[in-house]
Every structure is written in C-alpha cells, then in structure tokens.
C-alpha cells in the first residue's frame, strides 16, 4: 500500500485515495459537494467499477460462470477483483491467477475441476490474442524421412492437461452443447488459433500430448516420436495451420 497521503500537502492524492477506498467499502467518501444524495450518486461509480470488472470477467470465463451460476459467479468475481484487481488497462491480461484463487476459495472446494476449466478458458484467450505468424509449407514433412526435422509451432499453440476430465466438462458447457458422458481420469488437448481465427480445443491422448510438448521445445520429430506414431498430432497441427516453420532437411 502507498504511504498515507497528507491532505494538506496533496489534497488531490488524498481525495483519490478516499474515493478509491470507498469503491470497495459501503462508505461514501468525504468531500463530495452535492446538497443531497451523495450516497446514491457515489453508488454509480461503485456499481460501474464492480459491474464492469465482473462482466469483463464473465466474458473471459463463460464456462466457469455456467458451472457455478451467474449470481454466484458475480459474487465470486467481486471477491477476486477486490483481492486481485487488474494491474493494467489491458483486461485480456487480467485473470491469470484466477485458477489458483479458485483452488483456494472454500465455497467451490467441492468443484475441484473448476480451476482447470478456468485454465482452459485462459489458454483459449491467450491463443486468440497470440502473435500472427506465417503457415509453413508442409511439403518438407511429406518428402523422405522427416525424423531430423524440428517444427516451429505457432505462438498460439498450447499443450493443455488436466487431472480431471476438464476438456469434456468445458465442452459440455458450451452454448447449445449436448452433455457427453464424463470419462474418468486426466484429459489432454491441443489448443491453437486457426487461420480463420477460431480457437478449437482438440482432445489428445496422453502419448500424443507428450509428443506435442516435445515438439513445442524444438525436439526433432524422430526423437519426439521415438515410441509413438506422431501422425495424429501432426495431422491436427497441419489441418489447423499451426506449424509456422520447418527447420532442417529430410534425409
């Protein structure tokens, strides 16, 4: 917290500090000048700040909102916003610590998968805004033995994993979705932005997820796929334009 401001030497800073504190408390700040109804007038600001943050948050985490219900989500978002306010005006950068907040928020302790659904929604947001890159010509992959090639993947590519069936839970909570049965155990997915700016969530098996994580750090194809056929992962990457460049030569 900044040091308390002296109203005598910095009345502007002191007023701003009082005003700011009152946005998150029931007290109207001192120093307002209307003859009447300063409480109601100030409430417009308090509502704007709290409502604005909560609705921005609901846009980022629509599946989480659906899982807990709109009223509960708003109340929870208000707690989060008061404890973890955005640090910059770029709201797409806000909410990275929402999953860990959910893990420690007692009222949702019975929904242990909720944090992973939030992580998935954060990942989709990051992919949506990731930098633009070219799409590689896949010809190099088709000619000869590609095992020495390294793939440069698009910056939107995210290897997602959850101890819970969070991918299915997320999919079941999309608008108009029919509920699929929940598998047991962990789930994995490839998330990335297509050239048409869609951000699909593509389920992967554990072995394909392992290949993806290796490709992402520049492991040569042959080494990344030493034990498993990489075709399913490569097919998804190619189909959605997620390979930016292919380094090296086929042998």
């Amino acid at each position: 917290m900044p040091a308390p401001l002296d109203p005598a030497t910095d009345p502007h800073g002191a007023m701003e500090a009082r005003f700011h504190a009152a946005l998150w408390s029931p007290e109207t700040p001192l120093g307002l000048a209307a003859a009447n109804d300063n409480d109601r007038r100030f409430l417009v600001y308090r509502n704007n700040v709290q409502h604005g943050m909560c609705s921005a948050f609901a846009q980022r985490f629509p599946a989480v909102e659906r899982l807990v219900g709109s009223d509960f989500f708003t109340a929870m978002a208000r707690v989060f916003a008061a404890q973890h306010p955005p640090k910059t005006p770029v709201l797409i950068d806000w909410g990275g610590d929402f999953p860990s907040f959910l893990e420690g928020f007692p009222p949702v302790a019975k929904l242990p998968y909720l944090a992973d659904v939030a992580r998935l929604e954060l990942a989709r947001g990051r992919a949506y805004h990731a930098a633009d890159t070219p799409v590689a010509d896949p010809a190099a992959l088709m000619a000869g033995d590609p095992s020495g090639l390294r793939l440069i993947l698009a910056p939107s590519v995210i290897a997602y994993s959850s101890r819970f069936p969070a991918v299915t839970i997320w999919a079941n909570n999309q608008p108009g979705a029919t509920a699929a049965p929940l598998p047991k155990g962990p789930q994995y997915a490839l998330i990335g932005r297509t050239p048409a700016f869609d951000v699909p969530v593509m389920p992967l098996g554990a072995d394909q997820y392992a290949i993806l994580t290796k490709l992402m750090i520049g492991t040569p194809l042959g080494e990344a796929a030493a034990n498993t056929d990489p075709t399913p992962t490569l097919a998804l990457l190619l189909q959605h334009g997620l390979i930016t460049a292919i380094d090296g030569e086929t042998q």
């Binding site: 401001l5 502007h12 307002l32 600001y45 306010p85 770029v90 633009d132």
Partner: protein
C-alpha cells in the same frame, strides 16, 4: 490527416461483416485502444481491414490522465506501438482517472478541479503528447458527484488545459447534458463557456435515468439511442462551429448495425444543415 466532418460509429466486432459490405456507410470508426493491445489475431486483422477503407479514431480509456500519481509509462509505450502501427487520424483520452496505485479500476472517475489537479493533468498531457509524438484530444466527462475542493468550473479547467498543453478537446454532448442535469446546472451555459474552437470531435450517446428526491440522476450508459435534448444541443453546437466529426457511441446492449446507422443518419442530417448554413 484528420477525421472527416461526417458521422462515425464506435466499432463493434459483431458488425464487422456488415461494415465490410457497406464500406463507407460512415466516414470513420472509433476503437478503444485497450481492446487492440494483444499481440495479434482477429482484433488486429479487423482493425487493419477497417483502416484500409475508413478513417480511424483511437480512443483510450486506460491512461488515467486525471490520476494523482505518475502516468503508467508502460501503457504509454503500448499506445505508441498501436499508434505507430495504425497511424490513426485521431487519438483521444478522457479527463478522468481510472487507476490507483497498481490497481486498474475499469471506469472513468472524477477529480476536483483545482490549481493542483490542473497542474498535474497538464504535466500528464504534456508527457502523453511527447510520448506519442502527436496532439491529442481530451474529452469532457459525465459526472455524478462534484467536490468541495473544486475551485474552477469544468469549462475553465478544460480551457486552461488546452491552452497550456496545446491539446484539442473532444466534446461529448451527452456528457454535457448528463452532468448538467445531475448537478442541476444549465447545459447551454456550459456550452456557452466551452472553447468550441478547440473541438476536434463530438461524441453522442444515450443515457439512462433514475429519480432522486430532488430530481433526475442520469447515467451515461451508452446503451440507448441519443436522447432528443442531446440532439438539440448538438444542433446548437454545430450551428456555432460548422460540421465536425460526430461519433455515435453505443457500447452496452449493442443493437443491430441498422439501428446504429439510423442514429448516424440523424447526425448526418444535422451535419448537412450546419454545412448548408455555412454555405449560405
């Protein structure tokens, strides 16, 4: 490189396809700077396409020019990157604060109008214009409270800022009407004192109303058509200034593109009257 003296619309991504099909339906589009600060993806694709065929106004909502503390230089850098990339016809910001310490508050908050706040805000605008390498427009706020500490009228405050920093002004006619109604003052007296020769753009928007015991409290909601008394004030302003770039803002409960175009057509009719009166 300035905005045309025509109607403009706040850009809504859900209208992107119609905007493409009806290219030139309005003379310019305005975007909120902070919505285009991701690295890439659809927002930048849309803004590039929009700017291929239209003048663009970049309107910041995050700089907190009216804050007591120093400006966020990292945010100034982001704005510079955006402005360098798109070379918009106009950049504007608000007479308001929106962050305190490290916390961003996502609203445009008011400050007292004193010699101290005037000096701070002029420093902030000097710093902004220097960092961005261009002249900016500063928008008058819609307010719900006033401060015991205030010693200057808002119009005097804005006039002094523009005089000291060389910035232009963005006149939001709805904000004038909302604030005057809320503070039981006369919007025409406000406009009579406003330095209209410094206005580079006009904003028009809808507001909501509720009742306090001593009169209405208007809320600048950007969720409705522009109200009739605001259209009247707008026509009175243009009768004095001639045509100016005139933006319809509608940010909540967003209607169809056709409804926005009806609002733009109403502005266009008043702009034509002002143009004809000049020519006469």
């Amino acid at each position: 490189m300035t905005l045309p003296n025509t109607p403009g619309l706040g850009f809504k991504p859900e209208h992107f396809d119609q905007i493409q099909q009806r290219s030139g339906a309005v003379g310019f589009y305005e975007v909120h700077a902070e919505n285009f600060m991701g690295a890439g993806g659809a927002p930048h694709m849309m803004l590039e396409r929009l700017h291929d065929t239209h003048a663009i106004s970049i309107h910041g909502v995050g700089l907190s020019i009216g804050g007591a503390g120093p400006l966020d230089t990292e945010h100034l850098r982001r704005l510079r990157v955006l402005i360098d990339r798109y070379q918009p016809e106009s950049f504007s910001e608000h007479l308001a604060w929106s962050s305190h310490g490290a916390a961003w508050l996502n609203d445009l908050l008011p400050m007292p109008y004193t010699e101290q706040t005037l000096a701070t805000i002029c420093d902030h605008i000097d710093q902004t214009q220097e960092a961005l390498g261009r002249r900016m427009l500063l928008e008058n706020p819609a307010t719900y409270v006033t401060f015991e500490d205030s010693s200057l009228a808002e119009t005097e405050f804005l006039t002094q800022i523009a005089r000291r920093t060389g910035c232009g002004l963005l006149l939001d006619v709805n904000n004038v009407f909302v604030s005057a109604t809320n503070h039981r003052t006369d919007p025409r007296a406000y406009l009579a004192d406003f330095p209209l020769d410094l206005v580079g753009e006009i904003h028009l928007a809808g507001h909501e109303s509720e009742d306090l015991p001593d009169g209405p409290l208007l809320i600048d909601s950007h969720s409705r058509p522009v109200a009739d008394p605001v259209w009247t004030l707008y026509a009175e302003v243009l009768a004095r200034t001639g045509p100016l770039p005139s933006l319809i803002e509608w940010d909540n409960d967003i209607p169809s593109f056709d409804v926005l175009m009806e609002e733009a057509a109403r502005a266009d009719a008043i702009l034509k009257e002002a143009r004809n009166a000049r020519a006469a």
